[in-house]
Amino acid sequence: MTAPTIKLPAPLFARLSPHPFLLRNLTATAAAADPARPPAARTNGRGTNETRPLHAKASSLSHAHGSSLVRLGDTTVLCGVRAELLPVERIPLFRPVDRVGDGERGGGDGGDGGDGAGEGGRALLGRGELRDYDLLVPNIELATGSAPQFLPGVPPTALAQTLSTRVYSLLHSTGLVGVEDLRVWSKPGSGEGGDTEMEGAGEAQEVQEGVEEEDRVVAYWVLYIDLLFVSFDGNPFDAAWAAVVAALRNTSLPVARWDPEREMVVCSRTEKRQLNVRGLPVACTAAVFEEKELGEVGTGVVEGRHWLLLDPDRLEETLCREAITMVVDCSDGETRIKSIEKQGGTTIGRELIRGFAVIAEKRWKEVQGAMK
């Protein structure tokens, strides 16, 4: 209990001294041991292991090839995917690709024949092309006004740049999008063709090359993945990544075909093909809240208590130094970890990371339900 002489309304207390406020919230109910009340709760009323429900809505933008709107509590992200054609002539250092069934190797991924294993092995294929030709371009913008710390008219903040990099690396390392979906061949594959072709307004590109009999890649689709934070209340990465996955699952590319007479790639106006998205990687973030404000770490023993706050909000993020993000995919039945990012402290050790995999698994099931 606070000193009886000073009585502060909760919002004022939170504003003046956020750290003791959160600490008091986490400890008070636990100490009371009142069976009627829930166990230790955070200032936002959630339990330490309780996430905010994720709401995903697809196709919210009419002019994008794919889009999604993801809400995670008060964090709202809008994601739009726009595809543009990149003719191979415009690619410096282009390396031709053969269509040799599934065993094909894109650009930089030559050699290493022993890579036989199913899904992970396929994800590897074409990773080189995606990376070398920059076929996936994520960009994140934190809208002015989405949170008080984002000011208008400033260059992208370190946070926005860091998020973009994380999304970019994860897109490549998970192999969410396969390069075969983005290739446009000079001879249409079976089941395509016979459509009313026409030049896609801004997308058909001139290709100046002699007629070749061989089947070859003439162009690539480049996916521009733009994310806009409409409102920001912590845990930006989980929301951003969910939005990217939802938007890509919603993306359909027009069927593109090489027209040998006009020597250009033409897109079908009506016919569209759903983008193939492999698996469903889900990000799960937690922050470590330490009992001691500006606490000392690194003396061997962990001083004071600490709490792992799942899905931290903005207030909690400012009070925590250490955070962990784990990306898991359980779509094959088995839990595969796609990424671990842990930084800023030494509280989370081996045991906590192991335990966190179970929490992330649970989160995956929740998100999977929301994405349906």
Binding site: G107, A158, Y168, V297, I340, K342, Q343, R350, I353
Partner: protein, 254 residues
């Protein structure tokens, strides 16, 4: 080009004008770091109770991009845990890391426009920064050591590769960077790829064996090590011997 698994090399105080500096090369990477501080912080960086740690990563060519910002934020949050920031309120400790050389890669279609840094450079960044901080005499809680480990699937067998080459990073199933404090705390863990909890555990053991060798008793017999190469690198011993020679040179008059 295969990376020669030679022992890491370091030189301290290479930049006479800065408060502390270090040049470090290992696994094909060469970096130079300078540390200045505590110095006066800019008003917007000023913190009433602790020093602001600023990390700047400069790539070998061109200006830094979003990837460098990401590496900087990772380093910043880790180093701020090691430096006794509360000893110097309202001040700034600036760490500038210049990449001079990174291992070349003949197989991978290297981008001409932007030489992107990847996770594999992280251990070198951590080591160089720590050496430069020690050289500057910035008070710290502990030191740290870091290493990169890749899990490669070859001919159906799993192989753990320490200090992977860019080629190995490219073809690896998963790549991991782990940093440990001198109190054996896990300071930084960055992993990407596709792996299970069990695989991560093995990687953790391998990395711990390199970063925090606790005397002669080697723990974890299950680790699949690349024979003598792993036992040759002992980052903590390396850090210690580097600092011992620096201190001996400083205190030659004793």
């Amino acid at each position: 080009m295969t990376v020669t698994t030679t022992a890491p090399q370091a030189a301290l105080g290479v930049l006479p004008r800065s408060d502390g500096s270090a040049k470090y090369s290992h696994a094909g990477y060469t970096l130079t770091a300078s540390v200045n501080g505590p110095i006066e912080a800019q008003r917007r960086d000023e913190h009433a109770y602790e020093a602001h740690v600023e990390v700047i990563v400069r790539p070998a060519a061109g200006v830094g991009g979003t990837r460098e910002r990401h590496l900087e934020s990772l380093l910043q949050s880790s180093l701020a845990q090691l430096i006794l920031v509360k000893n110097f309120p309202r001040s700034l400790i600036q760490i500038v890391l210049q990449v001079e050389d990174s291992p070349e890669n003949d197989y991978v279609n290297t981008k001409l426009v932007q030489a992107s840094l990847n996770l594999a450079i992280m251990p070198a960044l951590v080591q160089t920064a720590i050496l430069a901080l020690l050289s500057a005499g910035v008070p710290m809680r502990a030191t740290a050591t870091a290493t990169a480990v890749a899990v490669v699937h070859q001919d159906g067998a799993k192989k753990t590769v320490v200090d992977p080459s860019p080629r190995e990073v490219e073809t690896a199933r998963s790549v991991h960077v782990l940093a440990f404090t001198s109190h054996n705390g896990l300071l930084l863990a960055e992993s990407e790829g596709d792996f299970t909890v069990g695989e991560w555990d093995d990687v953790y053991e391998t990395a711990k064996g390199i970063c925090c060798r606790a005397g002669p008793a080697k723990e974890g017999t299950a680790m699949v090590l690349d024979d003598e190469e792993a036992s040759a690198t002992d980052m903590r011993q390396f850090l210690r011997s580097t600092m011992e020679s620096k201190v001996a040179a400083d205190l030659h008059w004793k």
